[in-house]
Symmetry: C2
Subunit: 230 residues, 2 copies
């Protein structure tokens, strides 16, 4: 495999499936995992396990952003279940300002440094349409930024941002991952990041709904667990 | 002053002048200083002094990028004087992949978190046209990203990226800064980041040329210095 791709890996199930899809596409995958002060930093350990399980290299990017602006960055703010209750047209409190722009800009830097020609990101519109940086319009808008703002763009050898899950529903994503051998027991979705998934936050809600609709069991919920401290 | 602006501050003279311009424009300036592993991290201390001298708040963003891809990030790579010798159509080895995209994405996040409506960046095309992310086309391309990828864009209250120096030459920038009371003795431009400017790198070269053309003395070169270790 000579084709290199940078894959953004959060530790959640969407990015795990995205990595599996990128590998199936013949890419030599270089995962990027972010430690950006998220309250559910437990996902970082999950991301590392997912990368290893799928035979891929990873690098950890540490970003200290000295501001909050999101319930995911601020433990003092209550995690509300906004998408479930408020509907899809409101931006939830878990929105982290410009997060995917930050992630993609780092991925662009890494892709240029290692000569990768593709960046995979597991965003999808359907379940999380409250996040503006998960929309196709946003990913489309990144193209001219790459064309004009990077060396690869100047050299007419543009890096592509690939979003294979963009129009998929959670249940479909789970089915695709299942068929590609993704071990969902290694992934972590809950925003609370405690020892077991809270079952109430938006992320738990959509994960649960997805597994039910896919007709599959979530191995994370049936996993034998050691006692963990938090 | 109720209007808030985020100002990217490197410690160099361009961003110092940009801060002075933003303040003259009536903005309450919140500076962002980046520690991204640059070999000339001496500029971080200069940036803090510049912010203080111009009566502005600042925050330090720490980003650990575990890759190189630039002579500014890798002390093993020789700092060549590429712009001076090779001309303007080649991207210099000091190009840091996607640096301004990373900086602007963090600035966007900060601006959303504090409710700022403007981001100032001191990029200019004329002297540094070798950097793709200093071109007007790049800054123009960021507009749809803000419109589609951020909360402020969704709320039709878009954050603007302002580049007041974009079409200015170094000498003009120095004159503007001089008229606005910028203390250039506090700024740092040299890529080598030793105790005194090397006088040879691209950054020193353009600074020197600019002061000569502006008919002014560079106070940094005539500053009484204490012995410093490196």
């Amino acid at each position: 495999m000579n084709k290199k791709a940078v894959v953004l890996l959060s530790g959640g199930l969407d990015s795990a499936v995205t990595l599996a899809v990128a590998r199936r596409g013949g890419f030599n995958c270089h995962c990027l995992i972010f430690d950006y002060g998220q309250r559910h930093n437990k996902e970082i350990g999950s991301a590392k396990k997912v990368a290893q399980d799928l035979g891929s290299k990873y690098k950890l990017v540490k970003i200290e952003l000295p501001w909050k602006g999101s319930s995911l960055l601020d433990e003092k703010v209550k995690l509300t279940e906004s998408l479930q209750t408020k509907g899809r047209n409101e931006i939830p409190a878990t929105y982290v300002p410009a997060r995917n722009i930050i992630f993609l800009s780092c991925a662009l830097s890494y892709a240029e440094a290692i000569g990768a020609k593709a960046i995979y990101i597991g965003a999808h519109q359907q379940d999380y349409s409250g996040y503006p940086d998960c929309r196709k319009e946003f990913f489309h808008a990144m193209k001219p930024v790459i064309a004009y703002g990077t060396r690869s763009g100047v050299q007419k050898n543009k890096i592509k941002i690939l979003t294979p899950l963009l129009h998929k529903r959670k249940a479909e994503i789970i089915k695709i991952g299942n068929s590609l051998g993704v071990d969902f027991g290694l992934t972590w979705s809950c925003y609370r990041g405690l020892s077991v998934p809270c079952g109430k936050c938006d992320s738990c809600y959509y994960r649960k709904k997805g597994f039910i609709e896919a007709g599959l069991e979530d191995p994370l919920l049936n996993k034998p667990r050691r006692r963990e401290k938090k």
